[in-house]
């Protein structure tokens, strides 16, 4: 049991890491030939870091756009972030102090995730504009994430997994020491769903996570008059060949 799951998790982690890396390399190496920040935009590098920070932490643009989508989206992401931090307790020995401190609040964050996801899903059904733009995969993605959060919460409330054993298993993943894992259907579902999520991450809209950092409309400094910006492929067309006009 533990061995099979370990194998699946290794494969998915490798696909996830390599797939994501390939995408990030692609984004980083594709030139942005023109300055296209959505203005007003910061005029300094540190201003851009601040702008991106507000997008990542507060979803600033989404807040301007739609308060409901913002609320549900933010609840889900903030809950997910908190839950992920709490999961560090399965991977650290001894458990880091602050992780131990926040861990008891994990279920509330899990409920935040579910509430957010349910809100986002209901928008896909209820708002005619959002329904129109939703593909089957857009519904499935939300249901899928709800299943991950739900299975996690189920183990907290009722269908308990053997936590000590789970932790041995998780730590074993790092030392290639494959521990025994008793068969717990909820845990298996939880882990398999996470594995599938990691697999599809580099090939799906989940790429919005790295994408934001490479979005020229958000990450460019507004200084085109002060600094000449020119892409590699545009250099052959450089304008200085009109010097015959210099009078």
């Amino acid at each position: 049991m533990g061995l099979v799951l370990s194998g699946i998790l290794y494969v998915t982690l490798i696909v996830f890491a390599l797939g994501l890396l390939r995408r990030i390399v692609r984004y980083a190496s594709t030139p942005a030939p023109l300055k296209i920040p959505t203005t007003p935009a910061p005029t300094t590098r540190s201003g851009v870091v601040f702008r991106l920070g507000r997008e990542v932490v507060f979803f600033e643009s989404l807040f301007k756009a739609s308060k409901w989508t913002w609320l549900f989206g933010w609840l889900f992401h903030a809950g997910l972030f908190f839950v992920l931090l709490c999961h560090l307790r399965y991977f650290t020995e001894p458990v880091w102090g602050w992780v131990a401190l926040i861990a008891p609040f994990s279920p509330y964050a899990g409920i935040m995730m579910l509430v957010g996801l349910a809100g986002l899903l209901s928008r896909r059904f209820l708002v005619d504009r959002v329904r129109y733009i939703s593909a089957p995969s857009d519904f499935l993605m939300l249901i899928f994430l709800m299943a991950i959060a739900g299975s996690g919460l189920a183990m907290r409330y009722g269908l308990h997994a053997d936590i000590v054993q789970v932790k041995q298993f998780a730590l074993g993943l790092f030392s290639f020491d494959f521990g025994y894992l008793a068969f717990n259907p909820v845990l298996v579902i939880h882990l398999l769903l996470v594995a599938v999520l990691l697999l599809i991450f580099p090939f799906s809209k989940l790429l919005h996570a790295p994408g934001l950092f490479f979005s020229p409309s958000r990450n460019q400094v507004d200084n085109p008059r002060e600094r000449r910006h020119i892409a590699r492929w545009a250099k052959p067309f450089d304008a200085t060949r009109s010097e015959k006009y210099r009078g």
Partner: protein, 499 residues
């Protein structure tokens, strides 16, 4: 007034209303397709080529490798819906393909089909589709219902800019021989004659001379309108509409008066007698650069020290954001001034230095509001601080007239609504789209008008001015209620006859 159009003009209500989704409400709207002469003049095939599917798919792949924005935007959309009620064409028509995300999806579904794993193996699941004739038709219709105003990009949590997607789609269509007549014919004229109107040098000289006579007659001041003057300090690059169209021409008179009063030497160039650069609209770097380089050539030829742009929205985007890239470096110009400068920046500086004086009482008969033009608002800047593109024009308007009122906050500044005619759509074959797309701006104007009896809306964009002159009457306003910012400045400017 023009003859009544053959479609229902929406009524401007009390507030901006998000319509229900009405599929295919605008599926009949498309501009004239470019003829072979227009296509070939700017380097594209004359008609739809035989293997267009393959060429289009390849071009899409090429563009994702050339433009990081396009690549990231095609990958990153999560279909959250934040943009769905932000486009003026959706608000005015209810056609769901005018929702920014749906417009992007027309290209994205093809990208997914040919360039992503899930799209190759599970197309139905992720909404991927083959590039068929129907899809190409949709591209042609709906990428010509986008004015590339970037309003959606303000609200997208990832900054996805539909303008970039629509430019890429238009470039792909040009590449396979299905271009838009309006834009491509105009770009050809700029390459050949120097401006969008095809106004040759003698006609331009005549026009400018006529303006000198008009101003002398009206104001008794010998304001000059110089053409091709070598050794002038400032090269003025302005939209050619400024030379003959109303209300644009009053703006040009305003710039000339400012230069005259401040004692600045300036000239227009017949070689670069056009600020507009429609190469932007069709997403063609090569064409955009070719048009932009004329400005460098004119500056070198005339030996000027500064370049100043007149009132033109997308031209200011190309000028401010791209000119240095496309036609720089401008190391041969006076380093004390940014290259290029906007006429609003010039006037604002002169005002602050006390080198010109404005008497707002001259415009006491007017109650004015200001329309932020999309390319100025969301794709450029004025002055040294972020947001100067909003404050500088308002400061000079307020210095020029005593009665200024802003429209609702969510319809100005970075949230401004497009006039409905930007992005290469200012053509009569799209008049229904233009009229309906103006609805959100007209609603905001009506709301303000109900409170403050607005007499004039000022703008700093040639396209906005032409568009509003056309569509204002459909909404119960007069066509001459749209004016140039520099008309206000010109009228308020205290002139002395000493010079």
């Amino acid at each position: 007034m023009a003859k009544p159009p053959e479609f229902d003009i929406p009524e401007a209500g009390d507030y901006i209303f998000t319509p229900p989704v009405m599929p295919d409400a605008m599926s009949h709207s498309q501009p004239y397709v470019a003829k072979d002469v227009h296509q070939e003049a700017i380097g594209f095939p004359g008609e739809l080529i035989d293997n267009w599917q393959q060429v289009a798919v390849d071009k899409l792949g090429e563009l994702t490798k050339k433009y990081r924005g396009l690549q990231v935007y095609l990958d990153s959309c999560v279909k959250c819906g934040a943009c769905t009620d932000k486009c003026h064409y959706f608000l005015g028509t209810g056609d769901p393909k005018n929702m920014p995300v749906a417009r992007q999806d027309l290209l994205r579904k093809v990208y997914r089909r040919y360039y992503t794993l899930p799209g190759k193996y599970f197309p139905k699941l992720v909404g991927a589709e083959d590039l068929t004739e129907e899809v190409l038709d949709d591209w042609y219709k709906y990428y010509h219902q986008c004015s590339q105003c970037r309003r959606c990009s303000v609200y997208c949590p990832y900054g996805i800019d539909t303008a970039e997607v629509s430019m890429a789609a238009r470039e792909i269509m040009d590449t396979v021989g299905k271009g838009q007549k309006y834009c491509n014919e105009i770009i050809g004229k700029v390459h050949k004659i120097g401006n969008n109107l095809g106004l040759p040098e003698p006609a331009l000289a005549d026009t400018l001379e006529g303006l000198e006579e008009d101003v002398l007659e009206d104001d008794g001041v010998p304001v000059k309108f110089p053409l091709n003057v070598k050794g002038a300090d400032i090269l003025l690059v302005t939209p050619s509409a400024d030379f003959f169209a109303e209300p644009h021409i009053d703006g040009l008179i305003g710039y000339a008066k400012v230069f005259h009063q401040a004692g600045l030497s300036w000239t227009v160039s017949s070689h670069a007698s056009e600020a507009a650069n429609f190469g932007l609209f069709i997403g063609s770097y090569e064409n955009m650069q070719k048009v932009a380089v004329r400005i460098r050539e004119a500056a070198l030829e005339l030996g000027v020290k500064r370049i100043v742009f007149g009132e033109c929205g997308h031209a200011w985007r190309v000028g401010y954001s791209f000119l240095n890239t496309l036609a720089g470096p401008f190391d041969f110009l006076d380093p004390n001034y940014p290259v290029p400068q906007h006429i609003v920046e010039v006037t604002h500086d002169l005002m602050q230095q006390g080198r010109i004086k404005l008497d707002p009482e001259a415009n006491d008969d007017k109650r004015v509001t200001f329309h932020d033009s999309c390319n100025v608002a969301r794709a450029s800047r004025m002055g040294s601080k972020a947001g100067g593109q909003f404050t500088l024009p308002r400061e000079i308007i307020k210095a020029s007239c005593n009665h200024f009122y802003d429209m609702r906050a969510d319809t100005i500044g970075e949230a401004t609504f497009c006039c409905g005619g930007g992005g290469g759509l200012l053509t009569d074959d799209l008049i229904e789209l233009r009229t309906k797309g103006a609805l959100p701006r007209m609603q905001a104007l009506k709301e303000l008008n109900d409170q403050h009896q607005i007499t004039h809306m000022a703008a700093i964009c040639a396209i906005c001015k032409s568009q509003f002159a056309k569509v204002l009457p459909y909404y119960g306003f007069e066509m001459d209620q749209i004016i140039s910012v520099h008309q206000l400045v010109g009228d308020a400017l205290v002139m002395d006859t000493e010079h």
